[in-house]
């Protein structure tokens, strides 16, 4: 019954370089650590503009939002960069809305304009 998360990474360039993380599967208490590690690795490599594509997630628990916050805090500590969310799937959108994160995260719906927004 263990859940899985797949993360594919792509590099895009708008006004600045943007790293897009395509998340697929389940982002929950079991898998959110994998997202944090991947983000750490990317931020450590000097890429600090992160766009998280949430369209492939069929489940996200509160641990997922906790991971977004942790990444956001790391970027603040880092002094540069930003995290934005892209195209959340319907169940993910519902969780984001219920927990009230819509006002505190930039949620984009189109890849091109999201990349250019950084």
């Amino acid at each position: 019954m263990s859940s899985t998360l797949h993360i594919a990474v792509a590099q895009e360039t708008g006004n600045v370089p943007v790293t897009v993380l395509y998340l697929k599967g389940s982002l929950d208490a079991n898998t959110s650590g994998e997202l944090e590690s991947k983000a750490d690795e990317i931020i450590g490599g000097g890429n600090t503009n992160l766009l998280l594509d949430l369209n492939g997630l069929d489940y996200m628990g509160s641990a997922g939002l906790r991971a977004f916050n942790a990444i956001s805090h790391k970027l603040k500590d880092n002094g540069s960069g930003e995290i934005k969310l892209l195209n959340p799937s319907e169940p993910v959108s519902k969780v984001i809305k219920t927990l009230g994160f819509t006002d505190f995260f930039d949620i984009q719906s189109d890849l091109d304009s999201a990349v250019k927004s950084f």
Binding site: M1, A29, S62, A63, R66, H73, T98, L99, G100, F104
Partner: protein, 417 residues
């Protein structure tokens, strides 16, 4: 080290061959290959076919299974003997931790030596027995550690339980139920019912701290205590007021009796305290906090990012108390609207955590809001019967699947006139 005597000494110092006669060591020394490794070089990978045994001559190698490091091996230690003596695939991977030197003895040389020199066989059998004894020791030690951890977890569960109310308020015309079924590993659900004498109201809380495990359980105790303590400030002022009977304190008490102010004050204080003092932990909780006036049925509430509690009446689900602001503990500047409803005679308020709707069965399906709403849409009867019905339905649904999250349900019912 190319010198044969030096090689023999290295073999003699290894755990496997310390009892072997010099003739055996001499023979092995002549056929041993020397491997020079750089840090990070892989010797073999779990699942590879294994036909050699290795002795660490210098440096350090790690035994691992993907990212999990099982052991480090240093000078004189032996590995790969399982693959060398039995037709088994490698049971773990070996990678050089530092620059290292190894002796490699292949299967053919080992068998050849053993068949010709019984002393060598004796030495190796002895070493294998010693290794087995160490493994038994390690396994026993791990089993003891697991038992200690399980006991600690049980204590954590009991402590967490003690942060729930011992007794629920008993008020004429009202029935209140709270049930928290903890997950196997502790998690961060909580509920609370507490009387607020000065305001003639009952505080009702249901909450869920993000994520799971000990971290969530620790924060559950903090959220619950801050919410209760900050909303009872008026109580203590009232108590002091009786002693001091000063106008100033009476005035403060008067301010604190407004339910909307109490809710705002309590959740703002809790939110800012955790968002600033514990910012690094990135912990937050969804909380539904209501103050009920049992005399009138007025329920003043803030829903901070929690699954909407529902009000049921004879027609089924009558109203959902949607979030009036974000979760608490995360965003310092978060604002919450206060809303108010009235529970009429016969109405039932039901609050739950996502442990109910997101309970999973063995096919990984969620219990879902739809199933919960179907249960509530039918004749729901008394509060305790409905709570039992929901818990039984979740239990039936999950079957043999282990409970992944805490399951919490609260119910507040105004008895029909």
């Amino acid at each position: 080290m190319q010198n044969i005597n030096e090689k023999i000494e290295y073999l003699r110092n290894s755990t496997f061959l310390r009892a072997a006669p010099t003739a055996t060591l001499n023979r092995l020394a002549l056929s041993a290959d020397i491997l020079q490794l750089h840090a990070g070089d892989k010797v073999f990978t779990k699942g590879d076919e294994g036909k050699s045994m290795y002795i660490v001559v210098d440096g350090c190698v790690m035994v691992h299974d993907n990212d999990v490091v099982l052991k480090h091996l240093y000078k004189g230690e032996v590995f790969g003997e399982i693959g060398a003596f039995a037709p088994e695939l490698r049971t773990a991977s070996i990678t050089a931790e530092t620059d290292s030197v190894l002796f490699q003895l292949d299967q053919e040389t080992l068998y050849d030596t053993l068949s010709q020199q019984p002393e060598a066989a004796r030495s190796i059998i002895q070493a294998l027995c010693e290794k087995e004894r160490d493994i038994v020791h390690d396994v026993t030690e791990s089993a003891v550690k697991v038992r200690v951890l399980e006991r600690d977890m049980e204590i954590a569960r009991q402590i967490q339980q003690s942060f729930l109310p011992d007794t629920l308020p008993e008020i004429d015309g009202w029935k209140m139920i709270g049930h928290l079924q903890p997950a196997r590993e502790v998690a961060g659900d909580f509920y609370d019912f507490f009387p607020m004498q000065a305001q003639h109201r009952i505080g009702i809380v249901i909450g869920d701290v993000c994520d799971k495990g000990i971290g969530a359980a620790l924060f559950m105790t903090l959220f619950r205590s801050l919410i209760r303590a900050s909303s009872l400030t008026g109580e203590f002022q009232d108590w002091q007021g009786q002693i001091n009977a000063t106008n100033t304190i009476q005035d403060q008490t008067a301010i604190q009796t407004d339910p909307a102010t109490i809710l705002q004050h309590s959740l703002t204080l809790t939110n800012r305290y955790i968002a600033t003092t514990h910012a690094r932990s990135n912990m937050f909780a969804s909380v539904f906090f209501a103050l009920l006036d049992p005399a009138t049925g007025e329920l003043v509430y803030i829903n901070a990012g929690h699954e909407p509690p529902v009000i049921l009446n004879s027609k089924g689900v009558h109203q959902q108390l949607e979030p009036t602001g974000p979760v608490i503990g995360m965003f310092n500047e978060a604002k919450h609207r206060v809303e108010s409803v009235r529970l009429m005679p016969g109405d039932l308020l039901l609050g739950y955590t996502d442990g109910v709707t997101e309970a999973k069965n063995l096919s990984n399906e969620l219990f879902s809001e739809e199933r919960l709403y179907t249960l509530m849409g039918n004749e729901y009867g008394p509060a305790d019967a409905l709570v039992d019905k929901i818990l039984a339905a979740v239990d039936d649904f999950t079957g043999k699947a282990s409970q992944f999250d805490d399951i919490t349900v609260i119910a507040v019912q105004r008895q029909p006139d």
